[in-house]
Symmetry: C2
Subunit: 143 residues, 2 copies
């Protein structure tokens, strides 16, 4: 059916390379929600010799290690350092990604566990719509 891979295994010890430190640094500094190419561009500014594949490879490693989260909006992946649980709000007009907290998600998890016997390990709540700025700009009915 779906081609889901179980990438749960915690990975073994990793080597320290400047590429990895640079990518981690970019992720930590950023406000979050960078895609692979944005990370690559920022990395190139510091070290032009880094390659896009290295960025992808390390993002995957970091994900497996639980250091970064990978989310998809539209058709690409975005990465951010793992932090307190929060969810995403995407503006369909300008594409900006906002965050919000959703404490009831925990209740949801346990409800699903109880009702369906399903053990939930990831919860992703994605809302989309129009941010205040775009509503005004587009004269969308705000009511």
């Amino acid at each position: 059916m779906v081609g889901f891979k179980n990438e749960v295994a915690k990975t073994k010890s990793q080597r320290t390379t400047w590429q990895r430190e640079l990518i981690q640094d970019i992720l930590r500094r950023s406000e979050g929600h960078l895609d692979a190419d944005e990370i690559y561009q920022k990395a190139r500014q510091k070290s032009p010799s880094i390659s896009l594949s290295t960025v992808y490879r390390n993002l995957r490693v970091f994900k497996r290690m639980g250091l970064v989260e990978q989310h998809q909006f539209g058709s690409r992946y975005f990465y951010e350092t793992t932090r307190v649980t929060h969810h995403h709000l995407v503006c369909l007009s300008c594409g900006r990604v906002f965050e919000f907290k959703c404490p009831s998600t925990e209740h949801l998890k346990s409800r699903i566990k109880k009702e369906e016997g399903f053990k939930v390990t990831e919860a992703d709540v994605r809302l989309a719509g129009y941010c205040p700025d775009c509503q005004q700009r587009l004269s969308v009915n705000t009511s």
Copy 2:
């Protein structure tokens, strides 16, 4: 930033072709959550001359018309006919997609509207974890 397209505009009247009827029929019959290629394969069984591009093109048309919903799991899109709001529960082991209701989503929408001034038009709640069968099969701790 993100390359989001605003595909909100309701589309004008459409022609009736056997390809469209076939695709609609497949979507209606199915339990939901088919990807483009699965639809294509099913369609070919009935009419081998249909093309994959036609499938994609029409899924997009149906989506714009509000007849189907498009969701992404992993890195591809899945389609299902629009029904009462429900959300998805993906098993990370077997890849099966389950559904559940989440009435509190409506509250969430209005909360976001009130707190952030963000007008929410789409809400997608995706949980992932391990279904009962796989928990047993993998001897995952169920507590």
